[in-house]
Symmetry: C2
Subunit: 243 residues, 2 copies
Amino acid sequence: MAVDTGMKLAPLRYESAPLRNQIIAALRSAIEAGILKPGTRLIERDLCEQLNVSRTSLREALRELQALGVLSHTANRGLMVGTLTREDASNAYSIRSVLEALVARQFIDHAIDDEFAQLASLGLTLKKAYRSGSVEQILKAKRAFYDCLCSGARNNLAFDFINRLTLRTSQLRSTSLARKERQQQSVREIDAILAAIAARDAGAASDAAHAHVESAAASAFAAQDQVTEDEIAPPRRSANLTG
Amino acid sequence: MAVDTGMKLAPLRYESAPLRNQIIAALRSAIEAGILKPGTRLIERDLCEQLNVSRTSLREALRELQALGVLSHTANRGLMVGTLTREDASNAYSIRSVLEALVARQFIDHAIDDEFAQLASLGLTLKKAYRSGSVEQILKAKRAFYDCLCSGARNNLAFDFINRLTLRTSQLRSTSLARKERQQQSVREIDAILAAIAARDAGAASDAAHAHVESAAASAFAAQDQVTEDEIAPPRRSANLTG
DNA sequence: TTTTGTATGATTGTATGACATACAAAATGG
DNA sequence: CCATTTTGTATGTCATACAATCATACAAAA
């Protein structure tokens, strides 16, 4: 007979850390940080040396990143960091816009009181992060905010999709998030979303979510245009990742 | 010296056919056809034997399918065909709904006359496919229709996302598409979408797209409920793929 | 009878070496 | 200077090997 102490022990699951997941994380953050710029060719042998992993594991990681849309493949020439045309970026923001509007509506329909409170709290954290100006903190808080939003909306699939979109546009975001004006406006937009959700006004929440994403898009494009001149450079070899 | 006949020959560029792409296609169609049922464990060694490929290539294919969300992974137990909870399915349809509404609006904004005509033509083909009752033809026509729609909307990213969604819900679709009532209603809904687009009425097109997807969802759930009784079975070993 | 310890097999994770193929760039020859 | 050949580069694929972990069955002990 098993003992029943009444205690609930956490499952203590072995949080799978296959090597390829570390590789994926390393490449992702290198891309997001701009160490691997769009158009950079990824040579397997070089990456194996730099990351000190076998080709087998590296290739599996590359296949995943490829399927996620971060890397693009050309026949007999291998992989390169995906480039984002202006049209693609605009579409990514359009899709995020309708997705977030959907999730906002669903949140109002399905979330329980606890989740409303939690979302409000995470909204505060997010606004604080914006005011702090740290890109890293903003991204972390944003992720937590959307996680709560989608989870309250009972729509984890949307969370998945939103993450994929943000992954693809990560190059743009890192430049635009750093702008002071953008940060101030973001705070106002977050407030609008939170207020609409708190008021259980699905239409207003949807509109506010729309507005937030579209204003983010405008800011990202403005930021991009400022640096475009330098960026017409030819494809590069992969840079050093060990930094 | 190369001949120049004045003809424009299609690039015919070896559309790379790596073995893993064939593997992916084989597994995909096996899942869509129901040969590999949700919950089936995928044992690498067995699949290697059945497909007569090396583990290296197979695993790379599996990583891609995993990233696409078709397969789910549990630590130290490997992969299995992803199961779709009812909530997931509902969300997939919700997302498709807002995506298609978006694309319909964008199509009206951006498409040129040629594309309007082409979409109308593909709409006819699609309706004919519905009337023929062949699931295979319906799927093919639908894909062509959406391809044209997204391409006219200048939104290939949306096409990508829609395809991912349909991939995940493929299990449901194959059963629901086969129903006669559904086919008749689909024809009416397609007509509504085409009419709204032809009239350049973005609001109506968006509404019609919404309605189409949501009615498809309702039908899929109805079809699913009819077969649910048999499907509470335990996890299965992988079936024979060579058929 | 129940629990615990142990052995064994199954399965994935990772690494290595090898070979074929296709492309790119350099060298060669006119 | 152009065309052809050669060489180098990089990926695609395979076979093999070993480690780590889990599942199962079975024996030993309580």
